[in-house]
Symmetry: C2
Subunit: 320 residues, 2 copies
């Protein structure tokens, strides 16, 4: 097939052009229809990247660890994409000076592509946006994708589920944090990291985590690593452990997880589309907002309002 003189967006993305990819990611975020068409063309070219989730609360130093892993992978000649979904991450724009300086070393490296996503104000869910960005990076040929998330809320856990392998990061001496981990984040951890391990109490935190993890039923407990990312300590060990899991994660053993991930992505897109469609169906009656006004005035309860919206949606042939 003859190529047109001006290459299409998917062609330019497959060719690894960062500017075209950045533009496409922005357009996907804005739900530009042509961008979705482009993503669909890229889809058959995805599925090769190894996606690694890095989850930890603000202050856990996960951006520094992420930075260390980028360098480790680059030294091995692998291209690295980064998706930062964390309001406090230097990768997502909330930088403090030291981190910004550290990041400079990757800024001019064409083998690294960093994309940040705001955790709020998205059209549709965060897992839709993150999934789209991962797909574009994957199609571009980035071999490893680091997905940085805060991992506190439901939404963040959904985002973390996009990863083939999930690393949960904590630091010594945060009693509350271990509690928070206990309450949910541990479920998603394939590997645990106690970062800032030069701090007092690191061994105790490792011990606490290991005892906690030993209690999980019917699962092999995930290994716990100690790192001091700011000094580069432990990063290589973590990198090797991640690599040793790659084949399994991308092979048949990882299928169940890939299905769960696909389900999350699908539901996110579907809910978004159904909201649009409902809004269109209700437009002549003032849209979803008109129902919200009725609820606020206590003239209708939210469940009855939802049924009304469903009736409007399901009564007639689709409009958009």
């Amino acid at each position: 097939m003859a190529r047109t003189p001006a290459a299409s967006v998917p062609e330019r993305v497959l060719d690894g052009q960062q500017a075209a990819a950045a533009r496409l990611m922005r357009d996907l975020d804005d739900r530009v229809p042509e961008a979705i068409v482009a993503l669909r063309e890229l889809w058959p070219h995805t599925g090769r990247a190894y996606v690694i989730g890095l989850t930890g609360s603000p202050g856990s130093g996960k951006s520094t660890l992420c930075d260390g892993l980028i360098a480790w992978y680059r030294a091995r000649g692998l291209r690295v994409g980064v998706v930062a979904v964390d309001p406090s991450s230097p990768f997502s724009g909330g930088a403090i000076l030291g981190d910004r300086i550290r990041m400079q070393r990757h800024a001019t490296d064409p083998g690294v592509f960093i994309r940040s996503l705001a955790t709020r104000g998205h059209l549709g869910g965060l897992s839709r946006s993150s999934g789209d960005v991962v797909a574009v990076l994957d199609a571009m040929g980035y071999e490893r994708i680091l997905l940085e998330t805060v991992g506190v809320g439901q939404d963040e856990v959904e985002v973390a589920s996009l990863a083939h392998t999930s690393v949960v990061i904590t630091v010594p001496g945060l009693g509350d944090d271990v509690q928070a981990l206990k309450a949910g984040t541990l479920e998603i951890a394939d590997l645990l990291v106690v970062n800032k391990a030069d701090r007092e109490g690191a061994d105790r935190t490792v011990h606490d985590l290991e005892s906690m993890l030993g209690l999980r039923q019917g699962q092999e407990p995930p290994p716990v690593f100690k790192t001091s990312a700011s000094q580069g300590a432990g990063v290589a060990e973590l990198g090797l452990a991640l690599e040793s899991r790659r084949e399994r994660a991308l092979g048949p053993d990882g299928e169940e997880r890939r299905r769960r991930r696909s389900r999350v992505q699908l539901l996110d897109i579907l809910r978004d589309r159904l909201t649009q469609e409902t809004e269109a169906r209700l437009a002549s009656a003032g849209g979803i907002d008109a129902l919200a006004v009725e609820i606020a005035a206590r003239r209708i309860d939210p469940y009855a309002a939802a049924e009304k919206a469903m009736d409007a949606l399901l009564a007639a042939p689709r409009s958009v």
Copy 2:
């Protein structure tokens, strides 16, 4: 109308029976149809409670502050409901010993009702569940409802939007945290609290916040309070400030916000119902999971799969 000898669930809830209310909240969480019917009967009795959001990351001491506010309100003879949506909160079960002991003083007080919500594993969204719990507490006659959230993710911000007045809590010396606040949480703050104000750097944090807030366009900056909740310092001032905003929040000035809240609740219920409905329509073809398998195998992209699901949903008359 003659009352049946055994009072109905709504009657028992309106009568203030905590066991019946706890049961109803659990059933609502499980989407038991009768529970939704009961909630709809309670709806006309809601709208009286003043809902106060307390948002802050784990370690900000917001549970201790929450505890202080409960005591402050109880001393004024007001009944207080608490909804804790925070995996690390003692109210939501991730307790460390000191907090548990502190809480004991409210455990036997019939004027206090504490309900925790897990941030994960909910059927439907967290704002649906939180909205339901707030409605039940409101109908029961709790005059103040404290809604404790982590406020990092999109989901938590939606939950925080259920409050009439939102308090965002931070602590001194967390550079990262101020950055995180900057990135989003500040938007929702009506009042700010620097808790653990006996720590070094409290005045500087107050100053930083005030400079940051002064930059918001076209809005009166929210006031910043200093508290040391564990010593009870500053709690009364915060309580008075919250009360001074009550009338405005519940009156015409608060209407826009109440509409936004109603929209969030409605969309949450609607999306949940539409997912159920889609699942039912696709049942004979293996449900949403069958599409997820196709996506995982890269035989279809998620957007095309979503369109397929939409077609199935909108093609025939509703089934559930």
